[in-house]
């Protein structure tokens, strides 16, 4: 399994760069993904999306629909894509420590 290093910490990742295990997620991982995804600044809104994704994932075992993400955070679809340019299924799930969603993505 490939590894990435960020500020002295080592994370195991899959070939798409998603973390190997949700339980290994921490705030340094978020900063690592920020860099990989080319996100300029981490804002409170990013953290809100991460929190909602993690909460849903813990309860349901999959990532939520972007509709649910929008409903719970109050962010419009366009704004979610502004926060995470590669989209909720790729950038946001990766940052929140979820596995890569299955399907045509």
């Amino acid at each position: 399994m490939p590894k990435v290093e960020y500020e002295g910490q080592t994370f195991n990742v899959d070939e798409d760069g998603f973390i190997d295990d949700f339980n290994n997620w921490n705030k340094d991982w978020v900063r690592h993904v920020k860099q990989v995804e080319g996100i300029e600044e981490l804002t409170e809104e990013h953290w809100k999306v991460i929190e909602v994704l993690q909460d849903y994932y813990k309860k349901n075992g999959i990532a939520p629909m972007v509709r649910i993400l929008s409903k719970v955070t109050g962010f419009k679809l366009k704004y979610i894509y502004e926060l995470f340019p590669s989209g909720p299924g790729k950038g946001a799930c990766k940052m929140a420590g979820l596995p890569k969603p299955t399907g045509c993505v």
Binding site: E15, M65, V66, R67, I68, G103, C104
Partner: protein, 442 residues
């Protein structure tokens, strides 16, 4: 061909656990029951006709990208899988099945380019599908795509979208689009409408902007259209690619029956390739329909028609030079390449052709369910498509800055190629550009 192509460290629980459960007796029985019960003259004709000339090799992006390694030639993949099964009359090991599943599911996109270069037109994709069918019957399939097939089985859509989440998403996008066009509607369950619009799972799940854009196009073009409020809305079918033909048939039947229930004249589907193959070729035939029971119109044909009829006017053509990728299931499989060029030229100032193109285009290396096998195979997918990167670099050198990919899997696969090889192209669906350049009411 005795040695493996490479030291393979890919770990896939679907293959590992599946193979652990096998016995040689079960393998033999299953292979022979599929060969006897489901193949018949077609497979026999292909196997007996092949003269091992190897002309298919040069057609394959895997072979070309992997320095002409014969293991990655189409005939090499046949030799490592179905021929061995035939030769040994099904007496192969669990380890062999594991490797055969990996080859058939992740080293062939079923793109059928090789069939055009075979002097006899042998359809090697069909043989790879038979291998996948056998592996499915043995329960040895890659984990990620199997999850997608499970989702189809449970929900009739590929991304575990639940019953209430679907209409909620449509109404949400209707509301967002009404901020732009106040009279816009996404009519649900409208019996007798001309068109039922169907999409694939990722659109409601993550890419709801595509539903928004489609709604704008339908409304501006004045189409009498509808979308179903319950299952049957997803036209995709990954079960077709895991070899689970029973689920494939159920999913296809649900899609057609939904159109029949709504009494629509035709189905218009979004920019997807494999879903198109599943309705015009594979799924319909499995269900006993030589042609689809309800007319299915691909997005490319639909855009072509509404532009030609003047239902959509272009306010200002897209200025950035574009190049156009020809997806296998839409072009090699169904011949829509001149229509996609008409649409592109109507919308864009400049189309720079990549070479080869049309039915000779190189595959994205994502389709055929390969990208759906997930992260364990991403590097293999990218390393196996260096020729695509070279083809795109050449188009870029002629000035192309935007790459149009009118298929979801091509889109995602080409994103990976774009990123890894540092192409720096912007990838768009036809619909992204149409939405941007069309005349919209003030």
């Amino acid at each position: 061909m005795g040695e493996p192509a490479e030291i393979n460290e890919i770990k896939d629980k679907g293959l590992e656990i599946g193979a652990e459960r096998l016995t040689e007796d079960k393998i033999e029985k299953t292979i022979n029951s599929v060969l006897k019960g489901e193949t018949g003259a077609r497979l026999k004709a292909y196997v007996d006709t092949c003269i091992h000339c190897g002309l298919c090799s040069e057609a394959c992006h895997y072979y070309l990208s992997r320095d002409n390694d014969p293991h990655f030639s189409p005939v090499g993949k046949v030799k490592q899988t179905i021929w061995e099964m035939l030769k040994k009359k099904g007496k192969v090991s669990p380890e062999f099945i594991k490797k055969a599943s990996e080859i058939a599911s992740t080293e062939c996109n079923l793109c059928r380019r090789c069939a055009m270069y075979c002097p006899f037109g042998i359809d090697i994709a069909y043989m790879m599908l038979i291998v996948r069918r056998i592996c499915h019957m043995l329960g040895v399939t890659p984990l990620y795509i199997q999850d997608t097939a499970h989702s189809h089985s449970v929900t009739m859509n590929q991304m575990w979208v639940k019953g209430d989440e679907w209409p909620d998403t449509l109404q949400w996008q209707e509301e967002e689009a009404q901020a732009e066009i106040p009279t816009l509607r996404i009519p649900l369950e409208k019996e007798g409408a001309d068109v039922m619009y169907s999409v694939i799972g990722p659109e409601p799940k993550f890419q709801a902007q595509l539903i928004y854009q489609a709604a704008v196009i339908m409304n501006v073009a004045g189409i009498d259209w509808t979308m179903p409020a319950s299952s049957g809305w997803d036209n995709s079918d990954m079960a077709m690619y895991t070899g689970d033909n029973e689920i494939m048939g159920r999913v296809k039947r649900a899609h057609f029956e939904t159109a029949a229930r709504l009494k629509v004249k035709k189905i218009v589907m979004g920019e997807c390739g494999h879903a198109f193959r599943s309705v015009y070729d594979v799924g319909n035939r499995w269900l006993g329909w030589r042609i689809p029971p309800v007319e299915v119109v691909h997005a490319i044909e639909f855009y072509h028609d509404i532009l030609k009829e003047g239902r959509i006017k272009i306010s200002k053509k897209f200025e950035t030079p574009v190049t156009l990728h020809d997806p296998c299931n839409i072009v090699r499989g169904r011949g829509l390449h001149e229509m996609s060029r008409y649409v592109t030229r109507e919308m864009c100032e400049e189309l720079i052709e990549m070479h080869p193109n049309r039915e000779h285009n190189y595959c994205c290396c994502a389709g055929g369910g390969v990208i759906n096998c997930g992260p364990p195979y991403k590097n293999k997918r990218i390393m196996s498509n260096r020729v695509k990167a070279e083809q795109l670099f050449a188009a870029k050198a002629k000035g192309a800055k935007v790459l149009i990919a009118p298929c979801h899997n091509c889109h995602s696969g080409l994103e990976d190629i774009n990123h890894h090889y540092g192409l720096g192209l912007e990838i768009k669906f036809l619909m992204d550009i149409l939405y941007e350049v069309m005349d919209k009411p003030e």
